[in-house]
C-alpha cells in the first residue's frame, strides 16, 4: 500500500510536473564546461602541431594537450551520461587513453632522439615570408 503510494507519487513527479530539474541543469552545465575545456585543449594542441617550428615542440603540443583534452571531453560525456554501462565504457576509454597516450609520446620522442634528430636551440627567429615555400 505504502509502496504503491510512493510509486504513484514518483510517477506524478516524473511525468506531470514540467518544472526543470535543478540537478539536471547543474549536471549538464558541468558537462558543457568540461566539454568546452576539452575542445579548447584539443584545438589548441592541433594548432600547436601545425604552427610550432620544431619536432620536439610539436610533440610537446600534441602529447600534453591531447592527453588532457581527451580526458576532459570523456569526463564531460561521463557526467552527462550518469551511472550507466555506457559511462563505464567511456571510463575504460579514458583509462586506456591516459595509459597509452603518454607512453606513445615518450616512445616517439625517444625514437627521434635516438635517430639523431636534434632539437632547435637558440633564439627563435620568425620565418621570412619570402622563403616559406622553399623549406617544407
Amino acid at each position: 500500500m505504502i509502496v504503491s503510494l510512493i510509486l504513484a507519487g514518483a510517477d506524478t513527479v516524473a511525468s506531470g510536473a514540467m518544472s526543470i530539474d535543478i540537478w539536471e541543469v547543474i549536471r549538464n552545465g558541468l558537462a558543457i564546461l568540461s566539454l568546452l575545456a576539452g575542445l579548447f585543449f584539443v584545438l589548441g594542441g592541433t594548432l600547436g602541431v601545425l604552427r610550432l617550428p620544431d619536432f620536439f615542440t610539436r610533440l610537446h603540443a600534441a602529447g600534453m594537450t591531447d592527453t588532457l583534452g581527451a580526458e576532459l571531453i570523456l569526463l564531460g560525456l561521463i557526467i552527462q551520461e550518469g551511472f550507466t554501462q555506457l559511462s563505464l565504457k567511456f571510463f575504460l576509454v579514458a583509462f586506456f587513453l591516459i595509459v597509452t597516450s603518454p607512453t606513445a609520446t615518450h616512445a616517439v620522442a625517444n625514437a627521434a632522439y635516438q635517430a639523431g634528430l636534434k632539437p632547435l636551440l637558440g633564439k627563435y627567429k620568425a620565418p621570412d615570408p619570402e622563403d616559406i615555400g622553399k623549406e617544407g
Partner: protein
C-alpha cells in the same frame, strides 16, 4: 534539455572533425618521419574522441566499443611503426641483450 545536449554534442563532434582535418595537414607537410608518425597518433586519439561523442549524438552506444578497440590498436600501431623504422624488420626482439652493437640502429 535533451535536445540542447544533443546540439552541444553535435558541435563538439564537428569541432573534433575540424581538428582532425588540421592534423591531416601536418601529416602531409611533416618534414620528418617522426612528425608524420606524431600526426597519425594524434589523429587516432581524435578519432576515438569523435567516435565517443558521435555515438551519443546518434543515440547508438555500439560505437563506444569500436572506440575502445581503436584506442588500443592506435597505440600498438604506433609502437609497431616505430620498431619497424628503427630495426627495418618486425621480428626483432626488443630485449637489449639481443641487439648486437653497431648493428640495427637505423641512423
Amino acid at each position: 534539455m535533451e535536445h540542447m545536449m544533443a546540439y552541444v554534442n553535435l558541435g563538439a563532434a564537428f569541432l573534433i572533425l575540424i581538428s582532425m582535418a588540421m592534423m591531416l595537414g601536418r601529416l602531409l607537410i611533416g618534414p620528418t618521419l617522426y612528425d608524420r608518425l606524431l600526426a597519425v597518433n594524434s589523429f587516432g586519439t581524435k578519432t576515438v574522441l569523435f567516435l565517443c561523442v558521435f555515438c551519443l549524438v546518434i543515440g547508438r552506444p555500439d560505437g563506444v566499443d569500436i572506440a575502445l578497440l581503436y584506442a588500443l590498436m592506435n597505440f600498438i600501431a604506433t609502437i609497431a611503426v616505430l620498431k619497424y623504422f628503427r630495426y627495418r624488420a618486425l621480428d626483432v626482439s626488443l630485449l637489449k641483450s639481443h641487439i648486437t652493437k653497431g648493428e640495427g640502429a637505423g641512423k
